[in-house]
Symmetry: C2
DNA sequence: GAATTGTCTGAAAACGTTTGCACTGCATTT
DNA sequence: AAATGCAGTGCAAACGTTTTCAGACAATTC
């Protein structure tokens, strides 16, 4: 399809194409009458500026890259939605890539984005060690990470305060009278999850109650894992009055196991999650959980990235946001 | 950040930059020894081709635009995931935009994508009338629509066969012994929904059972609407043994209303949805529903778009995929 | 009326590629 | 031995912008 270019407009308007450019860019060094005339002709001819050509000379694309592990995950897709909307308000478009939990693919799409000359990259990495593998890549374009994975590495990232969140959750259950609280789904292979279980343990110590942790040795926090752990747990003798899950997804599995075992939630046992995924609010689930402020995280990530683009040599920064308990119907006061 | 360009490589290698370009593009008109040497030097210098410059001269970006109403919607985010993955396999990156159910925004982001010279656009439009408003835009870049909204308009689209899907659903319930089936959530303001309720009515007539339709006058199929309709329905006298919802989201609301009214699913009444959203498979919901083959829809949309890019003047085409019933636990055989 | 200022416009370079065309040198053909 | 062909390489144009620099012209100042 043949497009109208600056030159075409210039020819019709009888001016140089530099003048057309200036008329459209709102440059002050142009006569008001010529500007109006040129703009009118642009509209008449249906001129659309070519962003590619502009990027070429401006040496910036106004495009941000986003790499997520999977858009099928509700946390990721909600984050993506917020990032896209906020970035666009800041004048940037978003190029989205799935890494599909594959480290090789993650590197590959990063390279693609570099090649496309995106101005910056926001990334939810596959795992903790990502940084090492991506060292050479992040050197090529400003990057910010989402999630606490990078915590002990000198990189930019935004995250929720996972330890504090789980501490609040524990305290919340304690406040409802619970003294025996099971922590379900601790993982050693994720910084995020280490911090979460740490928050639980801290709270237990502070409150003077005995911790009880059920570990998840798989690399993900799926509801299958939650089901398996809870099923085994309910099968044995148990005297906890509340189950605190390391993630909402796990809690879904717990609900199923509880139902099958005839354990009622919240009558027999209280259940709490972490993340506040969209489905947790659905009436049949209605899970009390800890909210990750997704919109705020998204905005913080974009802001941080934009700052970094402006000032690439600034020292690394991090932004930690506070999560908060959202009360729903899966927890109940206890006297036990 | 200063990057290595073709010229830099050429200087070091002692060849013209045309030669470097040819070495990398796999052109046959170049000596094997020079090619190897040049490629080695490229790697040593960490050369990354500049996709923007390439787009400039090639007059194509290898970028596809995707406009969805909201990435927060699980149907959209799943579709987006599949489209991104498949498009990348075809050598295209994806630029994603939310229209946020706003027709003005929809036009705006479409223009943005045109300006960015994406090679094509896939769009899940805000509403039926989109086509008229976007006529001038779709003329500027190959576009395919997802969803049956455009059905009576000459455009490219892929969709699931909504009428057949709902017909199957009705027949499925009939097969379980249901003779009184409520259709909940019919909408007049959406082609998709007109077709769905049409499928239900067709099936009723064919099976010789009396239809009973509850209309939804709001512009969306939210679970609040499902709740309100079901709550009113359960409050009155009702003798249906099954509720067939126009969308999974509506069914969520029905579950809540049923629970509150002491109506058990599926013991007292069977419940069926349409769409097979990801949350419908969650154990606490486990909704029998009609599956939209999202991966196939995504692939069909990308294929169609790529064909159109190759052959912009071909006549409009449509692809209609068959939905299928997915059996879960919200429906049960009845003798009533 | 000449010099000076200031406002507006045009010419042209630059951005980093791809590719058509011309050229070189060597091997093959006649 | 000359002519032809061909593989390999370089030159330069082109893609559509932005922006620097210089120039033109009018308005102001002396």
């Amino acid at each position: 399809m043949g497009f109208v270019t600056l030159k075409d407009v210039a020819k019709v308007a009888g001016v140089s194409y530099a003048t057309v450019s200036r008329a459209l860019s709102g440059s002050p060094e142009i006569g008001e009458n010529t500007r109006k005339r040129v703009i009118r002709i642009c509209e008449e001819m249906g001129y659309t500026p070519n962003a590619v050509a502009r990027s070429m000379v401006m040496k910036r694309t106004n495009i941000l890259g986003l790499i997520v592990t999977s858009l099928n995950n509700p946390f990721m897709s909600e984050m993506t939605a917020h990032i896209e909307i906020y970035a666009r308000q800041c004048g940037y478009n978003l190029m989205v890539c799935n890494s599909s939990y594959d480290r090789e693919l993650e590197k590959e799409v990063f390279s693609l984005l570099v090649s496309r000359k995106v101005d910056g990259v926001i990334m939810i990495p596959v795992g903790n060690e990502s940084y090492d593998a991506l060292k050479t890549l992040t050197a090529q374009v400003p990057t910010v990470f989402i999630g606490e994975n990078m915590q002990d590495l000198p990189e930019n990232y935004v995250s929720v305060d996972n330890a504090a969140g789980m501490q609040h959750a524990t305290e919340y259950l304690y406040g409802l009278g619970h003294r025996k609280i099971l922590y379900l789904g601790a993982r050693e292979n994720s910084m995020t999850h280490k911090l979460r279980v740490g928050g639980y343990l801290t709270a237990c110590e502070r409150l003077g109650i005995a911790p009880h942790v059920l570990n998840n040795t798989s690399p993900r926090s799926s509801f299958e894992v939650g089901y398996a752990l809870a099923d085994a747990y309910f099968a044995g003798t148990h005297d906890e009055t509340a189950v605190l899950c390391a993630a909402d997804t796990l809690a879904i599995g717990v609900i199923k196991a509880a139902y099958e075992r005839g354990v009622r939630i919240p009558e027999d046992i209280s259940l709490m999650g972490f993340d506040n995924l969209s489905f947790s609010a659905l009436p049949p689930i209605d899970l009390t959980t800890v909210n990750q402020p997704k919109q705020a995280l998204a905005a913080a990530a974009v802001d941080m990235l934009l700052n970094r683009i402006k000032n690439p040599d600034a020292p690394y920064t991090k932004t930690i946001l506070s999560p908060s308990v959202v009360e729903r119907s899966s927890c109940r006061r206890t006297d036990a």
